[in-house]
């Protein structure tokens, strides 16, 4: 194992050296760095050309310049020596500093996007595999490929137009007319018809229920001006909590395990008590406090499961812990919603909360909740754009992998043993279907760190993609190399991790040392 890793790392270094040389030469040869001064009629153009030539060391041929750059970059290998020198960009700013800033921005943008894309993609993949060749399957496949093939700059512009500008216009006077509510209800009813599956009667019932509930909720929200001062309140949390408790138990332990169900339900009860008791505490929230609270919540849920006892405490604890966490999420979401009017009426926001550019409202100076909302309103559109385009691959991968597993002999055996369908799908099929997905996700993370060039440009988020693009367009190899190094290293590390994880997940695969 160790030999394997060492060998992989040595190969990685060699690949990195070769690739960086090629990228450097290609960037340097991609254009004329003095282009903006050619044909210029500035009186001091000769001096400016001299300054730029010195800054980029253009008198040295590109292949030799690469080795100069490499010498500086080699300093990065010595930890804490401060000798890391990746060169300077055209503005004279060190690339290392620029990279640091850009990486923070990119990570902020892609983290949520990749988590959401994986969760939604895997979920849709499993559902479509279980309902192969149903209307749902075709519908999801169609949508996934549609989003996959849409140009992202166009999606982004549309999202801004409808998701930001028009939604903000709507928020000015958030009234939903009856006709709109009915139409939305109808659309949801059709979706419910497709999703629910089964006999016509069952479909009709769920479609009708969906229609009535959605229309009623929309009208209720409209009448109570909910969009201006949203909130969940204890009643919704209680109802949603009960649903969560049943759902989590169903998936993690099965409803037959009464101890697990009771643990989950008790956790919901505790959650409602906590809802009232932590409000004052949450008013003064800090990020650290939220993390500690989250840990505490999971522990409480697990503890409830532990104290329920029974023949399988592990299942109780899992059901309790997951339910507790989700209830916690609801309470925090409710707290965010309570702070919405504060954010909405803030002078900096001017009553137009959903943003089209940047990562934060300048000079907002809000507390934890207001700045959290600000980050949310800024990141929601780029995140949606990124999720939409990366959804397709996860959905399709999960679907095909799940279909393959479901046809395996051991699944038939499991069914023959008389295991419940839940156990067959969740424990025998799903886990094994995840193995190939792990590889895909690892690859994607490596790619996404490199920045989403177009998304970043359109949403004016100064991340790695923008840094890379600027470098290319100014024929400035240093920032390009900086981005390349970071991307290449993450890609290789995640590749290695993917291989190791693969062998850990699937005992049949062994890394050869």
């Amino acid at each position: 194992m160790v030999t394997y890793i060492v060998r992989r790392l040595i190969t990685a270094v060699l690949i990195l050296l070769g690739a960086s040389f090629v990228v450097y030469i290609l960037t340097a040869a991609s254009g004329d760095p003095l282009q903006e001064y050619r044909g210029s009629n500035l009186p001091n153009v000769a001096d400016l050309i001299k300054a730029r030539t010195q800054l980029l060391d253009l008198d040295t041929p590109a292949p030799l310049r690469y080795f100069k750059w490499l010498a500086g970059a080699g300093g990065c290998l010595i930890p804490f020596a401060g000798s890391c020198d990746l060169g300077k960009n055209l503005a004279g700013q060190p690339v290392t500093a620029a990279l640091g800033q850009a990486m923070t921005q990119t990570l902020g943008l892609v983290t949520a996007a990749i988590i959401l894309a994986v969760l939604v993609g895997v979920f849709l993949g499993i559902i479509t595999a279980l309902r192969q060749y149903s209307a749902l399957d075709y519908g999801v496949t169609f949508m996934a490929f549609l989003f996959f093939s849409l140009p992202i700059f166009w999606v982004a512009v549309l999202l801004k137009e409808y998701g930001a500008i028009d939604f903000n216009n709507f928020l000015r006077d958030p009234q939903i007319p009856l006709l709109t509510a009915l139409t939305i209800g109808l659309v949801v009813a059709v979706l419910a018809w497709i999703i629910s599956g089964g006999a016509v009667k069952r479909r009709a019932v769920s479609a009708a229920a969906a229609f009535v509930v959605v229309t009623a909720v929309l009208l209720y929200l409209s009448v109570t001006n909910w969009f201006r001062s949203p909130g969940l309140g204890p009643v919704v949390i209680l109802i949603a909590g009960a649903a969560i408790a049943f759902g989590v138990t169903l998936l993690s332990a099965g409803l037959k395990n009464r101890k697990a169900l009771y643990s989950a339900l008790i956790t919901v009860g505790l959650g409602i008590i906590a809802y009232y008791s932590v409000q004052g505490l949450l008013d003064q929230a800090t990020p650290l406090m939220i993390v500690l609270l989250a840990i505490a919540t999971v522990l409480v849920g697990a503890a409830v499961g532990y104290f329920m006892g029974g023949y399988d405490r592990g299942q109780n604890m899992r059901a309790g812990g997951i339910t507790a966490f989700l209830i916690g999420v609801l309470i925090v979401a409710d707290k965010y919603m309570q702070n919405w009017p504060d954010y909405f009426n803030n002078g900096r926001v001017r009553g137009r909360p959903i943003a089209t550019i940047g990562a934060a409202t300048p000079n907002l100076n809000g507390d934890y909740w207001v700045s959290g909302l600000d980050a949310f309103t800024h990141l929601i559109l780029p995140t949606v754009a990124l999720v939409l385009i990366s959804l397709a691959s996860y959905t399709r991968f999960t679907r095909s992998s799940m279909l393959e597993i479901m046809n395996m002999d051991y699944i038939r055996t499991a069914r023959a043993k008389g295991l419940s369908e839940r156990t067959v799908v969740m424990r025998h099929a799903f886990r094994n279907a995840l193995i190939p997905i792990a590889t895909v996700v690892a690859f994607d993370i490596g790619g996404l760190i490199g920045g989403a060039v177009i998304t970043e440009t359109v949403f004016a988020i100064p991340g790695m993609g923008v840094l890379f693009f600027d470098g290319i367009s100014h024929v400035d190899p240093n920032p390009v190399m900086g981005v390349f190094i970071v991307t290449a290293i993450t890609a290789m590390v995640f590749n290695l991790i993917a291989d190791l994880v693969y062998s850990a997940l699937d005992p049949r695969v062994r890394v050869k040392s």
């Binding site: 254009g31 004329d32 003095l34 282009q35 001064y37 050619r38 044909g39 210029s40 009629n41 500035l42 009186p43 001091n44 001299k50 300054a51 730029r52 004279g92 700013q93 500093a97 800033q101 850009a102 512009v157 801004k160 500008i165 903000n168 008790i266 505790l270 505490l281 003064q284 929230a285 800090t286 650290l288 406090m289 500690l292 505490a296 409480v300 409830v304 329920m308 006892g309 954010y343 803030n346 002078g347 137009r352 943003a355 089209t356 550019i357 940047g358 990562a359 300048p362 000079n363 907002l364 809000g366 507390d367 934890y368 909740w369 207001v370 359109v458 949403f459 004016a460 100064p462 923008v466």
Partner: protein
């Protein structure tokens, strides 16, 4: 269910909750903190393309549009340039006057009470620093850059102040007097304090006691001579190094002396690569008083994103790159005013004074075939319906002398295409003309196609010499083509730039135009200090250029600004200061 266990669990939960209250933030609740950020009067958000990265926009690296635009409202100067390209004096800051013509001597005096935001007066030491930077007085680096030292990096042209000797300081350290060894036409804009670095800060950073020690140091040093480089002066070098890089930052420095202001605004906060906010400089009373309390700059590179940010109310003033899409989108937004006008940049067709175009008749014949009106109609009209072909090689329509010069410069002969006239001049010849242009610029491609179509009618054989965007610039002046279409930028104010293009043998004279009479006029021009005489000379030069069959100016690039109805007072400006030129007139409704 056993109650005991549940109560134990509850107990644990309660203890945990108590423990957590210890790590609560002390922001004191939500309502107070966000109410504090409520509307405090007039604010505006201006969108710029590039991100701010240094408080010193004098240096070659730092002299980007955005750094200069931030320097402008955070500094005061003896003058500013208005959108008619006039030099407007600011007598509240100080005055400057020409006290002698021979030798040319200019005295600059800063008023009492003008001070930096740390309370230090703006005085002679600051002017001496700016003079030292803009004159290159101490530099003795030779052409190869291997021997000698270049001290202060400076993006501007040093030829003007380079003619001066160390200024005389007077009026209790509030004035300097600069003496030129030769008359210099652009003396009025030679010393610009609109991006000045405070000398007392630089002195401190270099380990000097105060600004007096700074003046004494500079006074004692000899003028640098590139022919006889001397070892670098350590103190000056230290100071210059700090000047060149010490003010570079993307975040607000913790040391306020790095972003002192002597202008109406001072920078309050910065988010790297995203935004910068300026608020009123409370001491300021030495110039036009702004009406907004706060100006925020946000950086958006993408034009479409700028338009949508304006539409969504995240921006109040945008000046995106002009394209017909952008203009259309802007005009479709309710409550937004769109202004269109000219930039100082203009496209032109240059004919080589060699090869098939050596003969004046052939050049003039070619000029007669150029469909300038058509080019403007097809390329520019969709952006600016009022656009007209540019009719002068020296002036732009914003300048008062343009109309006058156009009447007499000979451009009247080339107002419309004259194929018959061209045929007559060609006298049956069918010269082959290779036209070089940037084929990655759609406007140039369109202009080329229109010219080719028209010139072919007169018998010219046109060869497409278009090159890619990174190659065309290198090909300029290398003789591989006969005519070329590209862009120049009119300086707007000042005349020193004219010989750079039109004088025999100069750097940007790519088509080898040479007219001894014009050369003489230009020599005289750059030594003429009187505005009226300058205009007369410029008009004569304009005439000579047109008469020589030099080529044709085609059109000016279009300048588009748009602003929301929350803001008033925004006016178009053709030069690189852009909308910022009259920021003090901006007001919130």
């Amino acid at each position: 269910m056993r109650l005991g266990r549940i109560s134990k669990a509850l107990g644990v939960a309660a203890v945990a909750a108590l423990a957590l209250s210890a790590c609560a933030g002390n922001s004191g609740g939500t309502s107070s903190s966000s109410a504090a950020a409520a509307k405090s009067g007039g604010t505006a958000t201006v969108v710029e393309v590039n991100a701010f990265n240094t408080f010193n926009s004098n240096t070659a690296d730092g002299n980007t549009d955005i750094n200069s635009k931030v320097a402008y409202p955070t500094h005061s100067s003896f003058y500013y340039i208005d959108n008619k390209l006039n030099v407007v004096h600011n007598d509240k800051f100080g005055k400057f006057e020409k006290i002698s013509d021979n030798p040319l001597t200019v005295k600059y005096t800063i008023n009492d009470g003008v001070k930096w935001s740390d309370g230090a007066p703006v005085d002679a030491s600051d002017m001496i620093l700016q003079w030292a930077v803009a004159s290159g007085y101490y530099n003795d680096a030779d052409a190869t850059g291997k021997k000698g030292t270049s001290y202060f990096s400076y993006a501007g042209d040093t030829t003007g102040l380079g003619l001066t000797s160390f200024p005389e300081i007077g009026d209790n350290n509030r004035s300097i007097t600069i003496k030129y060894s030769k008359p210099f036409a652009d003396w009025e804009i030679a010393l610009d304090m609109s991006a000045a670095i405070p000398a007392h800060v630089l002195a401190q950073k270099a380990g000097l006691k105060d600004s007096q020690a700074f003046i004494d140091l500079l006074k004692g040093l000899p003028k640098g001579d590139p022919k006889a480089p001397k070892p670098a002066n350590a103190q000056l070098k230290k100071m210059a190094d700090f000047f060149n890089t010490g003010f570079d930052t993307k975040t607000l420095p913790s040391d306020p002396s790095l972003y002192l202001s002597d202008g109406p605004y001072i920078v309050k906060s910065m988010t790297p690569d995203q935004s910068l906010t300026m608020v009123r400089n409370k001491d300021y009373n030495w110039g036009p008083t702004p009406s907004l309390d706060e100006i925020t700059v946000r950086y958006i590179g993408d034009s479409a994103a700028q338009v949508q940010a304006l539409k969504n109310g995240e921006a109040d003033i945008v000046s995106p790159q002009a394209s017909s899409d952008t203009v259309e989108q802007l005009k479709a937004i309710q409550g937004v005013t769109v202004d269109q006008g000219n930039q100082l940049a203009y496209d032109h067709l240059d004919l080589n004074f060699s090869g098939p175009l050596k003969d004046l008749n052939v050049r003039q014949a070619f000029m007669k075939t150029v469909p300038r009106q058509d080019i403007v109609d097809k390329i520019i009209k969709k952006l600016d319906p009022n656009a007209k072909p540019l009719d002068s090689q020296i002036f732009v329509p914003q300048q008062a002398s343009y109309a006058d010069s156009v009447k007499s410069n000979g451009s009247a002969d080339y107002q419309s295409v004259d194929i018959d006239g061209a045929k007559k001049l060609l006298n049956g010849a069918t010269p082959t003309i290779k036209i070089m242009y940037n084929k990655d610029n759609p406007n140039r491609v369109d202009a080329f196609s229109l010219i080719r179509e028209s010139a072919t009618k007169a018998g010219f054989k046109i060869v497409d010499g278009g090159l890619g965007k990174s190659d065309w610039g290198k090909a300029l002046g290398d003789g591989s083509y006969d005519a070329t279409i590209f862009g120049w930028i009119n300086p707007g104010v000042g005349v020193s730039g004219i010989p750079q293009i039109f004088k025999t043998g100069n750097g940007s004279n790519f088509n080898k135009f040479s007219d001894p009479a014009a050369d003489q006029l230009m020599d005289k021009l750059i030594q003429t200090t009187d505005k009226t005489q300058q205009n007369d000379l410029e008009k004569q030069i304009d005439q000579k250029i047109w008469a020589s069959g030099y080529g044709l100016p085609l059109f000016q690039s279009v300048n588009v600004d748009a602003y929301s109805d929350r803001i008033t007072g925004v006016k178009l400006m053709p030069n690189q200061t852009g909308v910022w030129w009259n920021f003090w007139e901006w007001a919130a409704k």
